[in-house]
Symmetry: none
Subunit: 132 residues, 2 copies
DNA sequence: GCCTAATCAGGTGTAAACAA
DNA sequence: TTGTTTACACCTGATTAGGC
């Protein structure tokens, strides 16, 4: 059989965490519980967001509203995603610039360069920068 | 196909040890049951999983949910199956690479090569093999 | 005994929360 | 808003144990 995945956003339900209910904005059932509900974006949603981000990293309200419709995500999730994305992108670009500044300059003391790069990698959150 | 969303929470709920317990030391819970329930996948379920795996070995939550519906298995089982499958595949591919590296060199002692590769797989850490 | 589903231990990426 | 931190979904690789 051909596996044909129809994109219906309301289907995704992992173990306990509430997923996008598509039409229910938010269900704060347990106010006493500090359990953070973490939205997991699927590939299609990510693609939509990334495409939009590439065109305009700082969409206005109207644009965000369209994204809400296209992705089935809540406006809040959209907003947070763009916030985080901008921040990560900025971090990465700064990091890259630093690396590029250090590498071509003094090759003679490459050992030291390695060390400094290592320190740099440790102090900043390198793992976050690595991921697209 | 019709999307039949099963609202039964038992399907999505994690049996006993839900998530990472975060703290493992003491297990004062459930000392009585040590019997692990092992799911036996039938041929149809396996075929579905394998077909999906061939198309995408790393399905997102949405795809997994579809598999849940198609197979009737729990999300947990789906997740574990893909994890194990990826791991096995990786092991096998590494094994094949090693065999191919060794074979053209000294064909005369091919029998011994097989043995040594076998030992390698059993003893070495995969991380080390990976880096090569 | 072999195969592999389930579990464990540790790690990674990032959405959400928080601070500035 | 940006920058930082936290919590959690989900991963890998190793191991354990159930069904055939």
């Amino acid at each position: 059989m051909g596996i044909l995945f129809l994109p219906s956003p309301s289907l995704t339900a992992e173990p306990i965490s509430a997923r996008q209910p598509a039409l229910r904005p938010h269900v704060h059932k347990q106010p006493e519980k500090t359990t953070r509900v973490r939205t997991v974006l699927n590939e299609k949603q990510l693609h939509t967001l990334r495409t939009c981000y590439a065109a305009n990293p700082r969409p206005d309200a109207l644009m965000k509203e369209q994204l809400v419709e296209m992705t089935g995500l809540s406006p809040r999730v959209i907003r947070v995603w763009f916030q985080n994305k901008r921040c990560k992108d900025k971090k990465r670009s700064i990091m890259m610039k630093q690396l590029q500044q250090q590498q071509p300059n003094d090759k003679t003391v490459s050992g030291f360069n390695f060390l400094s790069v290592g320190i740099c990698m440790c102090t900043a959150n390198w793992k976050e920068l690595n991921s697209a």
